[in-house]
Amino acid sequence: MRLKSFKQGIHPGYYKGLSENGPIKKCPSPKKVIIPLSQHTGAPCKPLVERKDKVERGQKIGEADAFITSPVHSSITGTVKSIDKQPHPVSGSFDAVIIERDESIEEKEWEKGVIDLEKISADEVRKKVREAGIVGLGGAAFPASVKISPPKEKPIDTIILNGCECEPYLTADHRIMLEYTDDCILGLKVIMKTVGAKKGIVGIEANKMDAFKLFLEKTKDEGNIDVELLEVKYPEGAEKMLIKALLSREVPAGGLPMDVGVVVHNVGTAVSIVEAVRDNKPLIERVVTVTGKGVNNPGNFMVAIGTPFSDVIEAAGGLKDNAVKVIMGGPLMGIAQSGLDVPVVKGTSGILVLTADETDIEEEVNCIRCARCVDHCPMYLIPTEFVKFARGEAWERMDSVNIMDCIECGSCAFVCPSKIPIVQYIKLGKLALRNLKSKKG
């Protein structure tokens, strides 16, 4: 059978064996959590609590009045210690609520309810998903309630559940698919019902055959849900690539999946949506892969949002002496961290600890125009042009070479023999271009 896939892309080393075999373990409840008021794409939250307030696990502590936003909740029961600027794994630093745990009070748990798919209404689902603060758990952290509220003029016919997990090292989605299979499928059905989609597809990369077989078995009586096997290639799990691979539809440049009648959700997000709709449980914990050769006992952990990286790494046996780099996310798109005091946020799919021999920091040499970047770009862009224009600070010309279509997957820099930090130039170019455009009004 020929596996479904997209054109170009790369074949990195995967190293998933480090962490994919054991079940998800619970990371011990932290003594304190740092809950940033922005953990999502969209308007940041305003705090709903003050210093010294008592808060309960699951209590909403921040929200904003906007369409594209997502509230934040306390992940432990305790007392608000401060609300101020704290380290943030994505933006460097951001306003956050620090809560100290009260060990004398037992943490609140949620009982499993039932979902009657016939009875639930779309509005109820949207409201619950929004109130629960659910965002895309694949990494981009886009508010889930917005994704399941497409405008009327964009009818959705297909929901794709993204089980690719194409980033090397990460295995959180893999474990979720194995351990929360029923909730994944139920989540898919809830989303299909909410947006009125007739068809559901679960896309799984061929390096997770156990999950593929499990889903095939569990959906064999579902006429409108397909389970598809995809080629192991990066970035197979990028929305646009995945839609192209599964449905041969190309999301127009600058457009969204809904423009081709599709909504894509990560498998972990689907589980969280079920927990919100069925149990009224907000998004206060997530599965995080702690891995890399620089950590003693790699594995997957259920971690309370706001737990400092240091606590999570401790749960995984601590750092080895030769650890040199700590990354939030995977090795291809993850963000290197300067310290371990940053908290796990909703978008933290992994904590990757690399040793010196696992990370590549080679000296940059001149571009030899070999065009490996061009040959591998999944968006069919010309990365050499981005580098040229960024070095010459010709920001406006970057627009003409479609820099805004770049998904920053890093395939170009991965294959570059001259070790040019292409993604850095691209990020710089996009920022400069945005500033330029906003100045012009």
Binding site: P252, V365, V374, C416
Partner: protein
């Protein structure tokens, strides 16, 4: 964990081959051709290779020092240029001429444009073109291979062009003919080319379209007038075509960056070779075909930019 964590932008892991490694790979791929040249042309070949490499490496270092730029000999590109230049020169060439060609290859072929990655024309071919213009007789004097005494001869292509005498395919494959140092032994060059394709140090599109075009055009000519025109097999194996198609036209710096562009580049080279060989005043046209297409590379790039994902209008 000791000391500070390393901070850098993603991706944090990269594919192995570095530019210096790719350059080294191409040099390794030329080893069979170097061995063949020394086997056939003895000490002359060995000395010419040494002198040309010394010329390019020395010139690159001096030029970068004078411009107060970091000396980047470690990238291996100057060494490769010297080696390629030597392989396209006749074995009888005086050593000082080879050295001069090497100096010119680096100065006007590469450094004057800003060094590695910025040149428009293949530096080794620029060096050869300079010598061809300055010392045409020296550049077209050939000797029989395998002998310690120089016995002059003609190349298979000029024998074909001016005498209609055909060299045997076996001789062309093994390299037992008159010609430039590295161009005579097709087998050695093909071995190197296979190595480059397997290691992914070279894109197969240019050699395929270049050799394919030469094959098809020469076949058409041959079918029209078998007595007058050479067979496709002869065209493919004679002269500098294998060396040019596998090691010169594929120079990444001077060939197009788009996949479509690389096909156009290869086809263009192939058409030019056949035109020059068949109707031109010279017996061989590989050098000029590549240099001419080098000049077209920026234009080809411009007109073959792929439509970005989702950019096609419905």
């Amino acid at each position: 964990m000791k000391g500070n964590l390393i901070i850098s932008v993603s991706p944090h892991q990269k594919e192995k081959p570095s530019t210096p490694a790719v350059m080294r790979g191409v040099i390794y791929a030329l080893i069979p051709a170097v061995i063949a040249s020394i086997y056939y042309f003895k000490l002359r070949a060995f000395l010419l290779i040494i002198v040309c490499i010394a010329g390019t490496v020395f010139t690159e270092a001096i030029f970068q020092k004078l411009r107060r730029k970091p000396v980047t000999l470690y990238d291996g590109s100057a060494l490769l240029t010297g080696l390629l230049l030597a392989l396209v020169l006749p074995p009888t060439l005086p050593l000082w001429t080879g050295f001069l060609g090497a100096v010119m290859a680096i100065v006007i072929g590469k450094q004057i444009f800003g060094g590695l990655g910025h040149n428009i024309f293949n530096p080794a071919l620029v060096g050869r073109a300079f010598l061809m213009a300055s010392f045409p007789v020296m550049l077209t004097t050939w000797i029989k291979p395998g002998l310690f005494d120089a016995v002059s001869t003609a190349t298979p292509l000029s024998m074909m062009k001016f005498d209609h005498s055909v060299t045997s395919t076996l001789y062309l494959l093994l390299g037992n003919t008159g010609g430039s140092l590295g161009e005579t032994c097709a087998v050695a060059l093909i071995l190197g080319g296979i190595f480059l394709i397997i290691k992914k140090y070279m894109d197969w599109r240019i050699p395929l379209s270049y050799l394919g075009t030469v094959f098809i055009l020469s076949l058409i000519l041959y079918l029209i007038k078998p007595g007058q025109y050479a067979t496709p097999r002869f065209h493919l194996l004679s002269g500098g075509l294998m060396l040019g198609a596998l090691f010169m036209a594929t120079d990444p710096v001077t060939s197009p960056i788009t996949k479509k562009g690389r096909y156009i580049f290869g086809i263009g080279c192939g058409v030019l070779v056949i035109i020059i060989r068949t109707w031109g005043g010279l017996p061989e046209g590989v050098m000029y075909s590549i240099l001419l297409m080098n000049a077209f590379t920026p234009l080809i790039n411009r007109y073959t930019v792929p439509v970005q994902f989702g950019g096609r209008k419905k």
